[in-house]
Symmetry: C2
Subunit: 224 residues, 2 copies
DNA sequence: CCTCAAGTATGAGATTTCTCATACATAGTG
DNA sequence: CACTATGTATGAGAAATCTCATACTTGAGG
């Protein structure tokens, strides 16, 4: 982690994201700009963060680490979004880990100083409620999908959702965690898609050769 | 659903749950007392509710219905707790179904009339944030547990958590949904526990004969 | 008393998914 | 350059879980 002192960049990001509009008090003077390199943790599993973060650039993922050493990838967070807001309300809570996927910039508010101000700011609280409700609904959907559909169905939906110009290029290791299956099994199903002609392997990633077939397979997991 | 006009009961419940303390304005005059019979839906899947509910007596369960007809039991709600709060913030959201398990009493606030008041009430918003954060953490834990552990492990933890005086008496159909497995498979694992001597079948339910063995099995799923 | 819905129970066979092992490629690092 | 970590890839066998079928029981309602 690195504090960015370049005020021009900070000002620019503040304006672009309209960060100040999320609050009814003036939090700009207390706002710091932080940078996290790819792979760094913004919030470490089990350690209460000192800041409330607002991710303005970059992509992160939220983990839950289980007692048996397994890791469940719960959700992806893309800018703009809050990070560390759950810990603001319940200091006793042990937070889930949030790791960056690429270089990330965060506007950050020191909790110690601003906690009481934030907790009585209706504008801010309303925004957080909205955000939490949305996150919750997404989590529930993901979880029940993971339970109710086979990997082939979920993967088909996932490929359709994440491909760019008909090329699917996600990292298998990460996807396996997100879809809640073993790496081995994911590869097995991908190989199946290839041998069925749904996907074609190229240097640029997997080419979605039969989107209609994937749509048919994944439509139920997708629509929900 | 049934509106209870017995003001004595309403007053008693209001006092017992300190409902008024959750708000900074006086919502008592607008509060209705509603009763739902066992099995009724407080919120129907996909239909935006007209009230913000506060469950004061009874036990409910939250469902997600998937496109393939399967049902995922996401969470149980026990009094006291809010119901329908997610829809308050995002009217466009399609709510998850909430069904009562036994007879339930709810204090209810009409959304249409009070929405704007509630959304600018910092005390109320703070309470909702706390509640949402907690619910979210619980959902994440449940979901990753369902993914990361076998049914035997989860069931062991579940039995230890839900038994009364060493008797386990939950309905298998419900538990299968909650633990995210087929009824058949649940029965299979229970039969296994019985033949291993962990449980003994009696007229009063299953007797937990070897809690230590269950503890050993479920400790990882439990601790998380 | 009959009937229907819901819960309980068990068998057989198929599918999904996991674990472990092993091999190779690639990128970053001292 | 050698070393290491990470991602990719594939095989073999086992475990977990599912679907479908079938029966019996029990409680609620007509």
């Amino acid at each position: 982690m690195q504090t960015i002192t370049d005020n021009r960049l900070k000002t620019q990001l503040l304006e672009k994201t309209k960060f100040a509009n999320l609050f009814s008090t003036d939090i700009v003077p207390d706002t710091e700009l932080l940078m996290f390199q790819s792979g760094e943790y913004i919030v470490q599993n089990g350690i209460t963060p000192q800041y409330l973060f607002y991710l303005v650039k970059g992509k992160t993922k939220l983990y839950d680490e289980l007692a048996n050493g397994k890791i469940a990838l719960i959700d992806f967070f893309m800018a703009p979004c809050f990070i560390g807001e759950m810990e603001l309300f319940d200091a006793g809570r042990l937070p889930f880990g949030v790791q960056t996927i690429n270089d990330c910039y965060c506007l950050a508010l020191p909790v110690k100083k601003l906690k009481s101000t934030l907790l009585s700011d209706a504008t801010f609280l309303k925004n957080i409620c909205l955000y939490l409700a949305d996150k919750n609904a997404r989590n529930i959907k993901t979880a029940s999908r993971n339970q109710g559909f086979t990997l082939a169905q979920r993967l088909a939906a996932f490929i359709l959702m994440t491909n760019h110009d008909n090329y699917y290029q996600e990292k298998h290791t990460q996807v396996a965690q997100y879809l809640g299956v073993s790496y081995r099994h994911l590869l097995y199903v991908i190989a199946d898609f290839v041998s069925s002609g749904y996907l074609t392997k190229t240097e640029k990633g997997y080419f979605v050769a039969l989107p209609s077939a994937l749509k048919e397979l994944g439509k139920e997991a997708f629509s929900e």
